[in-house]
Structure formats: structure tokens, C-alpha cells
């Protein structure tokens, strides 16, 4: 049996459940947006921890052989709801740390993008080309970097907090004086088409995205303007490197972002451990969700310490 952990307010969770339903494979879905419905109990058995998920149809008796997780994010300031969600996710994370079945993806391994600058170093170490970057809270450094890059610079958050990259245009330069309030990540602007590589086990799906804006998410989601999303191609070395890099982080799946310049230079921007893959398969027609479901079905553990 496959366990799906996620949020009914997210696009991925319903899509995963639908795809599993269509596959006919047994699964249980836990909606973390209703956290009071479930609890996780830990037992010791022959020196091993056994976890039982209880509530809302879960009896804690059915073996769980593979797990998909994309945790809900808090969309409320209601203290009780936040506490309940935090408790459920905390106990689930304890379980996922030691689950003996495949977990796509283990939350404990999915943190490198907390610091984009740190992840950039990992990408460079793995052999990817990365953009010239600067993290600073010094206004003069920001300006010097802008001049060195001949005004072709974007800025965005250093951490996992959601920010959309923006071009550092001349009219925004006075805002550099605000840098002492918070460090910021500056990167050379790499113009070109976007490529998203979704890794699923040993498979990879390359998607090409063409948009008017610096960030296609801004074009599509905020400006509601059309973007081109289609199956793309990258050389096999890059694709294999994406798969190897994903696995090196202890992940089964990922969504890796690239920019390809007109001269062919391919620059790695980041790896998302919990990609919104439904956005890409809906627009490109690539069967990414199905590949994830297939992976979970094909790679189920025979022995498990998780029951639902």
C-alpha cells in the first residue's frame, strides 16, 4: 500500500491521488490540512521502531510499502490549527526519518535549498555551471557587482522564503541602501530559455519553458500571461548529472532549474526537492505524475515498519 502525505489545498496532492486511483493500486491519502483527524503512534518491536498511523479510516494495521510526501504549508494564523499541523508533521517526520520503505522525498534530505548560496556551491561541486553570485548586506558591494556584470544582474532571496527574481535595473539601485536590513542574493542575469529537469528515480523529464519575463512564474502565475511549456532536450551528460546529483542529496525525485543562453551555455539555478511537477505535466503533456506513481508502485519495500 502506498501512503500519500500532503495538502488538499495544494495542486500536487489531488493530482497524485487521482493518478493512484487510476492506477488501481491501493493507497491511503492523509490531508495534513485536517491534522486533528490523524495521529502517529510509535511502538518498539524487536529493537526496531514501528509506526502506526491512526484515525479517519487508518487502523494502523495495513503495511505501508512506499510513501509520497509533500507537506502542507501553514495557510492560517489560527494557533490551534498551526499547533495541530505542527504536531502531526513533527511526528510524521520522526517516522519518515526511520521508515524502512522508500520515501519520496525524505524531508530530512530535502533542505539544501534552504540556502540558495549553499546549494549553488553543491551544484558547482557536482560539475554544473552556476551563475556568478554575491550574497551581501553591503550596498557598495551590490553596486560594484552590478557594474562588474555590466548592469545584467538579478536579485532574489538567499533562503527558501518565496521571492521572485527581479532584474536590478538602474532605477532600483537606490534600494541597495536598504541592504544592511537584510542580506540579499545577487546573480549575473543569464538570459535564455528555461529548462526544468524532473528526476524520478533513474528517469528524467526535460521541459523547456519560454517566457517574456525574467521568471516564468511571474509571467504565468502573477501576470497571467501565456508561456510556452514543451518537452525539451538537454545533452545526456547533463541529464545523468541531474540524476546523480539528486541521488547524492538522498532524494529520489527533484525538479532542477536551468537557463540556456543563446551561445549554448547551460547554467544550473537550483534544485527543488518538492517540485510542483503537476504544473509542467499539465502544460507540456509529459507524464511526470504518472512516473512518480509508477516509481512508488515498482519500488515498494517488502518489509516495512510503517502501518496505516
Amino acid at each position: 500500500m502506498i501512503l500519500v502525505l500532503g495538502s488538499s489545498k495544494d495542486n500536487v496532492f489531488p493530482a497524485m491521488n487521482q493518478c493512484l486511483r487510476e492506477s488501481g493500486h491501493p493507497f491511503i491519502a492523509i490531508d495534513e490540512d485536517s491534522p486533528s483527524k490523524h495521529s502517529v503512534k510509535r511502538e518498539a518491536s524487536n529493537g526496531q521502531s514501528v509506526y502506526r498511523i491512526l484515525g479517519d479510516g487508518c487502523t494502523g494495521q495495513t503495511p505501508v510499502n512506499a510513501i509520497f510526501v509533500r507537506h502542507a504549508v501553514a495557510r492560517t494564523l489560527d494557533a490551534k490549527q498551526l499547533q495541530e499541523m505542527g504536531h502531526l508533521q513533527g511526528t510524521l517526520n520522526s517516522m519518515l526519518r526511520v521508515a524502512s520503505c522508500p520515501v519520496l522525498n525524505p524531508p530530512a534530505n530535502a533542505v539544501s535549498n534552504y540556502s540558495k548560496a549553499y546549494q549553488g556551491a553543491l551544484l558547482a561541486e557536482a560539475g554544473f555551471d552556476v551563475p556568478r553570485s554575491l550574497v551581501t548586506n553591503i550596498p557598495e558591494e551590490g553596486r560594484a557587482f552590478w557594474e562588474e556584470c555590466k548592469g545584467e544582474v538579478i536579485f532574489k532571496g538567499v533562503s527558501i522564503m518565496t521571492t521572485l527574481p527581479q532584474l536590478l535595473t538602474e532605477d532600483k539601485l537606490p534600494r541597495l541602501d536598504l541592504l544592511p536590513c537584510s542580506p540579499t542574493l545577487f546573480q549575473e542575469y543569464v538570459a535564455g530559455d528555461d529548462y526544468r529537469v524532473h528526476v524520478v528515480g533513474n528517469e528524467a523529464f526535460v521541459t523547456r519553458v519560454v517566457a517574456e519575463n525574467v521568471d516564468y512564474r511571474r509571467t504565468s502565475i502573477i501576470n497571467n500571461e501565456p508561456i510556452l511549456v514543451e518537452a525539451g532536450e538537454l545533452d545526456s551528460d547533463t541529464v545523468h548529472r541531474c540524476i546523480a546529483f539528486t541521488h547524492s542529496l538522498g532524494l529520489i525525485a527533484s525538479g532542477m532549474d536551468f537557463k540556456r543562453q543563446a551561445n549554448g551555455r547551460l547554467v544550473a539555478l537550483e534544485l527543488n526537492p518538492y517540485p510542483q511537477f503537476t504544473f509542467y505535466d499539465r502544460l507540456s503533456g509529459q507524464p511526470i505524475t504518472r512516473a512518480i506513481v509508477e516509481y512508488l508502485i515498482q519500488n515498494q519495500a517488502e518489509e516495512t515498519n510503517v502501518f496505516a
Binding site: 558547482a124 550574497v135 532571496g157 538567499v158
Partner: protein, 248 residues
């Protein structure tokens, strides 16, 4: 230049600084407020190069001038209240993420080179450390089941008087009390396995808490941010000296 990030009243920081001062080693010590609110920095990265510098009280210190670092940040800093809650949260994470990247880039010894799980206060991390070291040492582990109300973050755990506790600083084992000597000797015999675990996890300094059942050791807790306030002066000094030796 040795970089010490920690509070001036932290007993370990104090012991390390005293020892290093005796040796005449230059030390730059910044507390958490100074790190997060008063230190300017620039950190450059490209495919082939990583470098940067800090500016402290107008003095520029290159990251390549840092020969070792002691990280003892209690993670209690929070941005000023004049920002709204959303901005406070944003600045907190931006600052943490920037410092994490800079510290991770240092090629010199860093004690401890905390995992992102620690920086993010992942409350499942302490148990994960117990299980990973338990596997290495081939000893039983015993961790408490999740409490009814989970802690909001990782808090350092003080030694349990019912446990045998041993501090590890590099290759040195320091029993907490004379009654812990047998366990300390046992740990010394297992130094290769411990050293491998230390390398894997970036942990040069920690405290191991064991309990015994039927004369078998059970690993209960691994404290990677040991607070020394309740320790006798002699133990604090030994840990400080051993830590200073790792940094020197």
C-alpha cells in the same frame, strides 16, 4: 585568525578564549547579536571561485584569513520588532541562510559544522544522531517517543544524572564524572568508529549520554551543543583546552 561565534558568557567560549589568549593566538569573537545584526559581509561564488569577507567594527577580515572557527550560536536571535511579523520572519531566514552558506564554504576546521537540520531546528535531528552513532558503535539506542506537545525547536539537553556522560572533543574523551570513566574508556576503544561518525556529521564536539541495562550500554542522547553551566570547573577547562587544541 580564529573566529569564535558565541556569547561572551558561554563557559565553553570563555574557556577556549582564555586558553587561546594564553597562546597569543588572534581571536575574533562575535556574539549572536553581533553576527546577525552588526556584521557586514560579502560572499562571492562562481563555478570556480568562492571568497568573501566580514567587516567587524570597520575591520575587514577575509574568509581565507580564518584558520578555524568555533560555532556556538544559541539561535535565539530574532530581527527587530519594528519590522512586521512577515518581514521579521523573512530577515531571520535570509540572515541564517547567508551565514550558513558562508560557514559551509570555510575549508578550515569548524567546530561544529552543524547540519542544516540543526540550523532549521528539525526536532527529529537529535534522535537521528543517536541512531546514526548507535549504528556506528553497534550499541542499542533508546530515544523517547514523541511527546504529546512537541518542542518548537531543538533545545540543548542537560546531562541526565542517571546516565553515564562522556564529552568528546576531537579525539579526546572527557568523562563527566569519575563514575563515567569506564564508559569513557569504552568510547576511547571505539574511537575509529566515533571519528568516522564525527567526519560524516561535522561534529567535533559533543556529549554522549548512555545508560546501562544488564551491563549493556544503550545510547540515549547525543548533545552537539553541550551547555557546560552545571559542570565542575575542571571539566569545563578540559573541554575548553581540548577544543582550543582543535582550533589552534
Amino acid at each position: 585568525m580564529i573566529l569564535v561565534l558565541g556569547h561572551h558568557d558561554d563557559l565553553l567560549v570563555k574557556a577556549v578564549r582564555d586558553r587561546l589568549a594564553g597562546d597569543g593566538t588572534p581571536v575574533l569573537c562575535l556574539d549572536e547579536q553581533e553576527v546577525c545584526s552588526k556584521t557586514s559581509f560579502a560572499f562571492h561564488q562562481s563555478r570556480t571561485r568562492t571568497d568573501g569577507y566580514l567587516v567587524v567594527d570597520g575591520t575587514r577580515v577575509g574568509l581565507d584569513e580564518i584558520s578555524s572557527a568555533l560555532v556556538r550560536l544559541p539561535r535565539m536571535w530574532w530581527p527587530p520588532e519594528e519590522l512586521d511579523m512577515q518581514d521579521q520572519m523573512f530577515v531571520y531566514h535570509e540572515t541564517s541562510a547567508a551565514w550558513y552558506a558562508m560557514l559551509a564554504s570555510l575549508e578550515c576546521p569548524v567546530i561544529n559544522r552543524f547540519d542544516l537540520s540543526w540550523w532549521l531546528s528539525d526536532i527529529t535531528y537529535p534522535d537521528a544522531l543517536v541512531h546514526s552513532l548507535g549504528r556506528r558503535l553497534k550499541v542499542h539506542t533508546r530515544t523517547d517517543p514523541p511527546a504529546d506537545v512537541l518542542p518548537p525547536r531543538i533545545f540543548p539537553k542537560m546531562p541526565d544524572p542517571a546516565c553515564d556522560s562522556v564529552y568528546i572533543a576531537g579525539k579526546r574523551m572527557i568523562p563527566r564524572e569519575s563514575t563515567d570513566r569506564e564508559t569513557s574508556d569504552w568510547a576511547t576503544e571505539h574511537l575509529p568508529a566515533i571519528a568516522e561518525w564525527q567526519r560524516e556529521n561535522g561534529i567535533g564536539l559533543c556529549r554522549l549520554d548512555f545508560d546501562r541495562e544488564n551491563n549493556e550500554l544503550h545510547l540515549r542522547h547525543v548533545e552537539i551543543f553541550p551547555v557546560l553551566n552545571e559542570e565542575p570547573d575542571a571539566v569545563v577547562q578540559q573541554i575548553g583546552n581540548a577544543t582550543a587544541e582543535m582550533l589552534a
